[in-house]
């Protein structure tokens, strides 16, 4: 009798039924970020010494991109609360209610472990360890800690985005050479001007979400100053592979011109200040910064292939 009464009083269980479409899972992997990861990893893999069979190279690249996708999914799982209050991210699958947080967590963890394990088996365990560290750094260090606590979040967190060419290099050569460290440094110093340009016209969004981005904490003027400083460091760092003799004049000329463009746009942002044109200049810098990375890495790849052609290796 008591049991029956207890049954009657029991609240109905809440069953959550997934509304997720396949595209929502693709969105969880941040495909636009993945495209940059795939491209930089491909260049790292192609310019590294040693030879990796094309099939193994493709599989390694697939693992690196899936690993990046895993990091993106885990980032969205943890950041669902702040994504929900930012206009740029409110339509992401979790805050929009199409994917449940536990689904994103399971999806991200499965991809993370799977991509690391397969990369280790397909290429080598150094590359797999670097991929595992990258995912850990992006999720546990950047997403869970730095992003919500310090305006240097994207400076330190930028390391996660800088690892892919090094992973590609390690997958092909089994080592981490100085040239791959240079590729790491280029992306590392590229990240602050890239993200802070975005944050200049998204600062209100970040403030509402309680994210201490530099313009929110230190103001717009200081952010413009820091963008310029990092661009001035980025320009010579971008030219280092040529200055140190790792790449040819095509890359050298591209790096100097592209670096000069980044510095020039950063100076414009600094001069224009709060004027409406300043916002437009910031958006232009954001767009050009994406182009900068693609152009630089493309030039590096072409230069390397031309060099190989000259040495009769192709």
């Amino acid at each position: 009798m008591t049991d029956v009464a207890a049954d009657e009083n029991r609240q109905p269980a809440v069953f959550a039924i997934s509304e997720a479409a396949v595209g929502d899972y693709v969105a969880l992997m941040k495909p636009r970020v993945m495209s940059l990861v795939v491209f930089t990893a491909l260049v790292g893999l192609m310019v590294a010494p040693g030879h990796l069979h094309p099939v193994l190279g493709f599989a390694a690249l697939l693992c690196i991109s899936i690993g990046a996708g895993a990091a993106g999914a885990l980032n969205m799982w943890f950041d669902a609360d702040v994504d929900a209050v930012m206009s740029r991210t409110a339509r992401r699958p979790i805050p929009a209610g199409r994917v449940m947080p536990q689904e994103a967590l399971a999806f991200g963890m499965t991809l993370a472990f799977g991509s690391v394990a397969v990369l280790g088996l397909v290429a080598n365990w150094l590359a797999a360890a670097l991929l595992a560290f990258t995912i850990f750094f992006y999720v546990a260090i950047y997403t869970m800690r730095l992003k919500r606590t310090t305006p240097q979040n994207i400076v330190i967190g930028g390391a996660a985005g800088a690892f892919p060419p090094m992973i590609g290099w390690a997958a092909a050569s089994g080592t981490v050479g100085l040239e791959s460290v240079l590729l790491f440094l280029i992306i590392f110093f590229w990240t602050p001007p890239h993200f802070w340009a975005l944050s200049l016209w998204r600062a209100e969004d970040y403030a509402r979400a309680g994210i201490p981005m530099l313009p929110v904490v230190a103001g717009y003027s200081e952010t413009r100053r820091q963008i310029l400083l990092y661009s001035m460091v980025l320009a010579p760092v971008g030219a280092l592979p040529w200055l140190l003799g790792y790449s040819g004049p095509l890359y050298g000329a591209t790096a100097i011109l592209a670096g000069a463009a980044m510095v020039w746009l950063s100076i414009r942002i600094k001069i224009l200040g709060d004027a409406d044109e300043g916002d437009r200049a910031a958006k232009r810098l954001f767009g050009v910064s994406i182009l900068y990375l693609f152009v630089l890495f493309t030039a590096l790849l072409i230069d390397d292939r031309l060099g190989a052609l000259g040495r009769g290796l192709l």
Partner: protein
Amino acid sequence: MDDKDNENGIVLTEEQKRRRRARSIAIALALGALVLLFYVVTIVKLGPGVLQRPL
């Protein structure tokens, strides 16, 4: 009505069924692609003589 609901369990809407089917197909395709990838990678890494190695 409640009794009938309990008997039927959770009833998915047509949209939920359609999306579940799409997810199932995507998982099947992903698994198929993985099988193919592992097969090709095995052949590349071990070579065509993989079955002729001493036990």
